[in-house]
Symmetry: C2
Subunit: 471 residues, 2 copies
């Protein structure tokens, strides 16, 4: 193996190596020393996403020079990749002519993404610097509802008439390819711009040149509506494995396409939003290390506060029952609360994901309830039995606490089983009900479920304990 | 608006409509009545992912007939889409010849995916039924480490020599396109099959026919290694927006490609795995509604048990301190535990995601620690202040409990602030340390963090309470 490797390398043929990224410090030095051609050479052939990363790493005062040294067509792509705070700085450093010239290089869906992150004053400049034609499209794109297919689609796609031949189609592609986001899926429309079929570049390449597109086009097309939620759009990509999806308006006219790379961005953003909500954090798009401590504080404190206040129920219940019961019962409050919380969050996370992936719908509510009741009973009985033994053995014998009697162990075990059952039911039902009434189910995750289950488990505990122990 | 719609529809042109899916019951009726051509007509032009869904819905005894009625090329695609339990049934109903003929239709990466889910006896049949050439490739693919790029790549890609002209390349594509998973990104290799560049179908379409590929190919290529983790591969798709990525072996020879649809599947699977682990559930790939109650029980019980046993620490601590302290302090145990748990899980989920997305690395540990300490102080002071007021007002005045004094409120507030600080530190550090020592950070989420923080917050609480109140 080792020998063979040597032989191959000795041939000294031009083999692709992963180009090592230039160091930010080295690039800054080149700028300082005005070695601009060396700078440009080092950055040539580096993927734009990597250039954007290096750009964000270097010291602020070098950024304008760095950006202006990039070749024009690369500069605009790097611009799209960087965080909005840097975009704002760059735009501020531009003259109106420079801004216009960069906007010409951008795809319109990227322009719209950028606009959505900018303050009003910058938005005005961008719209003013756009061409008359683009301005109309941008305004249209900005009017689609938040998180809809209309906001992530691009209007730069290839459109054919069914009467064209493959030869004509290929000629057309040659002419327009450079300005289109994809040429691999092309769309056939009628005189009213209504979508009638799709033709892939593969179809075009393997068909004879005189064939009419209407003969080779696929006329059963999966499409989405401008107002469809972007998450639904992303799920269609997951399900069907397409490279692009057409977007139509209420009159079935083709108004744009969503490409797979944008779908991946949506999947990523929606996933991170769900993770944040499930941990009771207000979602942000800024990476962790770039967010200030105060920024993180702001995204976390409202939920902590709300949940802390809600936990008041539990103290109220404890307050009410404490006086009437033996002190020994307090020992098992943490175990009951933790296990209840964990049981509930297992169910809630399972259902939140099921709903989000479209595997579960509100109409399944009784199937879900029945399933969770059985799971709750299995888990409750199993853990109750273990807890019974554990309480007697560890808390009674090993810890040598004479107040831990068989009766106490039994009360703890029964309460635990009931708590688990209740936790499973609440944990599964709340996300379903939330989805039904238009709330985001992701909010019904561990923190909320735990708070509710805590209070309920205490009620159950004291109810059982007092009925067992009262004369 | 309404008027216009009517006008367009009255033109009665062939407009694409989302084809409504046939009902499973209706299809079963057609099979019963032997109306096979009607059956085939109804399923024509339906996306295979939808056919697979209908297939899984119908009654078991109809499935073999259903599958055999599908046209051959569609049948194999539907087969790939269905759950492995159904695949196993279908294979069992096949003769060896039928199996061979279906395997011919499959892409090799799909065959390998299927093999990985089958019991040994079925695997043997599949390998035996494959052609001699494919058998060697399948065996090679099966040898790559679990979850590596090698296991998700396909070996069916288009490969050129740099000396070929665009015309030759297009002719070659025309011949082989039907068997290749993508023709939109093609690969240029040298005499030793080492990757030297990529050419896109777009490049081919817009270049003149006599150009040599070496002139138009991109020779700086992002690639992955066969042994790279599949999650890293998926992150590269997210970052760069590619349609396919080449996979090379240790000697830089091109051995396969990963296509974007497979990358999306990986993103989906890895995300769901993380969600499951963070809710203390053993990840499974079966959708919720298809899993039996006992199956769900099995994926949830080990973690519940482990966490319940760990909660013993908390009772031990309560046991130790309870006798020495005033009963009033017990009232605030749930609020302290819940708020501590929530604070900790906010930090842990943030860091788990940051690590998973590659935004945070182990070397950032001190920056993270310093950030979390500040966030913890902000949150601790804010919530401590609110808690102080709330304890005095709600638990003291409104609940009319004379044992809730200013001193008690102060002790609760200080404990709460410290608990939050500790929770933030533990919640952020455990995932980082886990990643460093090769554990999956996702396991260090709410349930574990809560259990640890619970015990620590009790220690802090009783320590502070006893030092304040002892003479």
């Amino acid at each position: 193996m080792e020998e063979r490797k040597t032989t191959l390398n000795e041939l000294d043929m031009p083999v692709v190596e992963e180009k090592s990224l230039p160091e930010a410090e080295h690039l800054v030095k080149l700028i300082d020393e005005k070695k601009y051609s060396e700078f440009v050479r080092l950055l040539s052939d580096i993927p734009v996403a990597d250039i954007a990363e290096i750009f964000e790493e270097i010291e602020g005062k070098y950024r304008t020079v760095f950006f202006r040294l990039l070749p024009k067509e690369i500069a605009s792509e790097v611009f799209v990749e960087m965080d909005s705070e840097y975009q704002e700085d760059i735009i501020a450093s531009f003259t109106d002519t420079e801004l216009s010239s960069m906007l010409e290089e951008l795809y319109l869906d990227d322009t719209v993404d950028i606009i959505e992150e900018m303050p009003a004053i910058v938005v005005k400049r961008i719209i003013k610097a756009s061409t008359h034609e683009n301005r109309a499209i941008i305004n249209q794109l900005l009017r689609y509802p938040k998180d809809s297919a209309g906001t992530i689609m691009t209007t730069e796609y290839v459109r054919f008439r069914g009467s064209m031949t493959v030869r004509e189609a290929l000629d057309h592609i040659r002419k327009v390819a450079i300005d289109k986001e994809t040429i691999y899926t092309c769309y056939v429309t009628d005189a009213y711009r209504r979508l009638v079929g799709i033709v892939t570049a593969k179809d075009l390449l393997i068909s004879s040149l005189d064939t009419e597109l209407s003969e080779i086009m696929e006329d059963s097309v999966v499409f989405v509506n401008t107002v469809d939620d972007r998450e639904q759009v992303a799920r269609k990509f997951e399900k069907y494995g397409f490279l692009a999806l057409p977007v139509v308006d209420a009159e079935h006219r083709l108004v744009g396409i969503v490409t797979v790379d944008d779908a991946i961005d949506v999947i990523k953003e929606e996933t991170e939003e769900d993770f944040a909500k499930m941990a009771a954090i207000t979602p942000t798009e800024t990476p962790y290390l770039k967010t200030t401590a105060f920024g993180i504080f702001k995204s976390r404190i409202p939920w902590l506060l709300l949940l802390m206040i809600s936990a008041t129920f539990s103290s109220t219940i404890l307050n009410r029952f404490e006086a009437t019961l033996a002190a020994v019962f307090v020992l098992f409050v943490p175990m009951l609360m933790d296990t209840g919380g964990n049981s509930g969050s297992q169910s809630s996370v399972t259902l939140i994901r099921g709903l989000s992936l479209g595997e579960v719908e509100f109409s399944d509510i009784f199937r879900v309830l029945w399933k969770e009741i059985r799971v709750g009973l299995f888990c409750g009985v199993a853990l109750g039995a273990v807890a019974f033994g554990k309480v007697l053995l560890v808390d009674g014998l090993i810890m040598n606490n004479p107040t831990v009697t068989v009766e106490v162990a039994l009360i703890v075990a029964v309460t635990l089983a009931l708590t688990i059952l209740i936790a499973k039911i609440i944990g599964s039902m709340l996300p379903m009900v939330a989805a039904k009434i238009g709330f985001d189910p992701a909010v019904m995750a561990s923190p909320f479920i735990t708070t509710i289950v805590d209070a309920l488990s205490l009620v159950v505990y004291f109810f059982i304990a007092s009925s067992f122990t009262s004369p």
